[in-house]
């Protein structure tokens, strides 16, 4: 069964460093998402991406964040200058179709630890 994959599973970085989290969505899906979950808190929406551009973003997704689909398979989240409060699980998700309220399929997550 197709699944969303994410790499790395765990990323440790120093405050102020740039990180890139990688995702491979399910191949025929059209919508792509990033969510994060800070330890003990809710899963929070960051950004959605469709047709090679951001379709929605939350207040969390500020200028430090960017997303890219550099080729036909990868979907990346970049944090330019990490802060301690960026430590969280980051989940990528994808959805197959437009115009319908399909469920989103989530990857296993990347645990980001900022020291």
């Amino acid at each position: 069964e197709p699944e969303v994959t994410q790499t790395p599973s765990h990323q440790v970085t120093q405050m102020g460093q740039e990180v890139i989290l990688r995702c491979v969505p399910i191949s025929n899906h059209l919508y792509f998402y990033w969510y994060r979950q800070i330890l003990g808190q809710k899963v929070e929406f960051l950004v959605s991406f469709y047709n090679n551009e951001i379709s929605e973003k939350s207040e969390i997704f500020d200028d430090q964040f960017s997303v890219e689909r550099p080729d036909g398979s990868n979907f990346t989240l970049k944090i330019r200058s990490t802060k301690l409060e960026d430590s969280a699980m980051y989940f990528c998700a994808s959805r197959p179709r437009t115009g319908e309220r399909d469920e989103q399929f989530f990857g296993p997550g990347t645990r980001l630890t900022v020291l």
Binding site: Y31, E44, F45, E56, F91, R101, F106, G107, G109
Partner: protein
């Protein structure tokens, strides 16, 4: 953000009995409702959904009920099985948007 709440952080149920997980929301713009299950070290896995035009949707052992007037959503699992032990999240989306608003989760433990 208090738009979506799951007031029970944990629930223990005997194998074979019914598990009832609850979710409350405040914003009447939500019109599509989903339940996800999450095991440790995995991402959320979709279980079942319901749109605002329905009040019940059933899929095998899982049934979701929606009470729009009370802004309340529930998931019933019957019979409960030990493999159902996980964290359950309700997730809601609004008209015209497709990002999901998650609840805080309820940890279900099914006791053999």
């Amino acid at each position: 953000d208090q738009q979506v709440k799951q007031n029970s952080p944990s629930l223990s149920v005997q194998e074979g009995r019914i598990s009832i997980l609850n979710c409350d929301y405040t914003n009447s713009m939500f019109d599509y409702f989903l339940w996800y299950k999450k095991y440790p070290a995995e991402g959320p896995t979709f279980l079942i959904s319901i749109s605002s035009i329905k009040d019940k949707n059933e899929d095998g052992r899982f049934t979701v009920f929606l009470n729009k007037s009370a802004k309340h959503l529930s998931l019933h699992i019957v019979p409960s099985q030990p493999g159902d032990s996980a964290v359950y999240f309700c997730a809601l989306s609004k008209t015209g948007a497709n990002n999901l608003f998650f609840g805080t989760g309820t940890r279900l433990t099914v006791i053999p």
